[in-house]
């Protein structure tokens, strides 16, 4: 699974950093850095983080599997 954070929307509430600290980090006071490739053992935490985000900026989903040539 992959995540992308809409950082246009993100306001640095940092709920994700508390809920899934292995995936989301604050760089300085409010710049968010995250690992786009979610390890399987972090999936549940990332789901909670996405649900808890006050501005709903976190999208979790499958990436495109380019089956067609």
């Amino acid at each position: 699974m992959r995540i992308v954070v809409d950082l246009t929307r993100c306001q640095g509430y940092a709920q994700c950093v508390f809920l899934a600290p292995q995936v989301f980090h604050l760089h300085g006071e409010e710049a968010l850095l995250y690992d786009p490739a979610v390890p399987d053992d972090q999936l549940e935490r990332v789901r909670q983080a996405a649900a808890a985000c006050p501005v709903q900026a976190i999208l979790l989903g499958e990436e495109v599997s380019a089956g067609g040539q």
């Binding site: 980090h25 300085g28 006071e29 989903g61 990436e63 495109v64 380019a66 067609g68």
Partner: protein
């Protein structure tokens, strides 16, 4: 008629953020026909902002920034093949492998590529990089991990500054050259560019403003060894990153008759492409970095934006308009917004800071490294930039959208005394900068030199 538009064949050229979000939105809007997405890179859609941040810091792998889907767009993906031409009358897209794809409606979302170093022999030296694709980022991250003695970054725009920030965080010596008076000056104007320059120097960046690189040097084995600067000095370095801005991917449309040029493809507020006579097309649409569209808040000037948020918003509007008849179509009126994180600061912007004549420091201070600057043009608010104050940005967005008077009325609890003082916004002519602008107003205002027409 509406049901007809939800059927047929749609081709999207461009398989990055705008192409993917448009494909999803087409299905969301009920499109049931065949959908083909063409991309020149051999990878499924991936996210680019992490490439100059997490990837260079070694926190994420360059090949692991694949974009999550909102829903499966049930598309036929033609990846690793370039579109080479468009026949608007026969309604076909020609591909590099000789095939041509028929369409009823087409979305062009071919984006940009990194502007290369102008001398091809120097650009080919081992150790000289640009940063746009995941391959670029992977190679550069690998080279940075091998602890070069010094990295030279040419260009002090957002990408160049973020690269310099990542280098310093990795403990690498880095020199930034910028032809303009300070980094980020084209995007943020004079006052905030001084903060940017101070921030770079405080973090140990060897910042050379008012300087250009005149030649890149290599040894007998073709390895980059350093550069000559316009002040006559020579700099030894092992790695060079060329961060001169972006070039729009429009060459494949040269014979299409569309209004495609160095600033992008002109389209209307409904994302419909103009032809070279200014006549709008009903079946060719444009979205993302490659587009150039009018915005009522900026005197209907055509905006060219290299922003993540614009790619998403415009793709959604284009997709909606591709499957809905004329009177139901929507305009793309979203305000330009972007962010950059560098040197531990979160810089966010809304509106068009370059569309300004004055600024005011509305909240915070330079010393605190926490502030909000509001930009005005002829007495109305046109933009705002926050540093480590992202929660305030929405308030200023509302002021811009309602054309509120400038300077803005007092309201914030942390309003400094300086908020009484308006300063010139001091946005330079982009021609004087190393890198091309990430926001360009490409219309005409007689008293502002904001149009850059360069014979590429």
């Amino acid at each position: 008629m509406a049901s007809d538009l939800r059927e047929g064949r749609i081709v999207i050229v461009g398989a990055s953020l705008a192409g993917l979000r448009a494909a999803e939105a087409l299905r969301e809007e009920g499109f049931t026909g065949s959908l083909t997405v063409v991309g020149d890179e051999p990878y499924p859609p991936y996210d680019r902002p992490p490439l100059s941040k997490q990837v260079l810091l070694g926190l994420a792998a360059a090949d692991a920034t694949g974009l999550p889907m909102r829903r499966d767009p049930d598309a036929h993906w033609r990846l690793g093949v370039r579109a080479t031409g468009l026949d608007p009358l026969g309604k076909r897209v020609m591909l590099a492998d000789g095939e041509s794809l028929p369409f009823d409606r087409l979305l062009i979302a071919t984006g940009t590529r990194a502007r290369p170093w102008p001398n091809p022999e120097e650009a080919a030296l081992d150790g000289v990089f640009t940063l746009r694709t995941c391959v670029d980022a992977g190679r550069l991250a690998e080279r940075l991990a091998a602890t070069p003695r010094r990295v030279l970054v040419i260009g002090g725009g957002f990408t160049g500054s973020e690269i310099a920030s990542a280098c310093r965080e990795r403990g690498l010596e880095v020199t930034v050259t910028e032809r303009g008076p300070a980094p980020l000056v084209g995007a943020l104007g004079g006052t905030l560019s001084k903060l940017a320059a101070g921030m770079q120097r405080n973090h140990g960046v060897d910042l050379r403003c008012g300087a250009t690189v005149t030649a890149l040097r290599g040894d007998a084995n073709g390895r980059f060894t350093g550069a000559d600067l316009s002040d006559g000095s020579h700099l030894d370095a092992d790695v060079c990153v060329v961060a001169l801005g972006a070039v729009r991917n429009v060459e494949w449309l040269a014979d299409s008759g569309l209004a495609a040029g160095p600033r992008g493809i002109a389209c209307d507020a409904g994302c419909r492409a103009f032809d070279m006579y200014g006549i709008v097309s009903d079946d060719v649409f444009v979205a993302g970095d490659v587009s150039r569209f009018p915005h009522p808040l900026f005197e209907y000037q055509m905006l060219s934006l290299e922003h993540w948020g614009n790619a998403v918003a415009q793709a959604e509007v284009a997709a909606y308009n591709m499957v809905n008849p004329g009177p139901l179509r929507r305009p793309h009126l979203a305000l330009p917004t972007f962010w950059s994180s560098q040197f531990g600061l979160n810089i966010k912007s809304v509106g068009v800071p370059a569309f300004s004549d004055q600024i005011v420091l509305a909240q915070g201070s330079l010393e605190e490294r926490r502030l909000a600057v509001v930009y005005g043009y002829r007495g109305r608010v046109t933009a705002a930039v926050t540093v480590n104050m992202a929660k305030s940005l929405e308030y200023y967005q509302h002021l811009i959208e309602t054309a509120a008077p400038f300077p803005p009325a007092p309201g914030a609890a942390d309003r400094p005394a300086a908020a009484e003082l308006t300063l010139p916004s001091d946005v330079p002519d982009p021609k004087g900068l190393s890198h091309s602008p990430t926001v360009a107003l490409t219309g005409h205002l007689p008293d502002r030199r904001l149009t850059v027409v360069r014979p590429d």
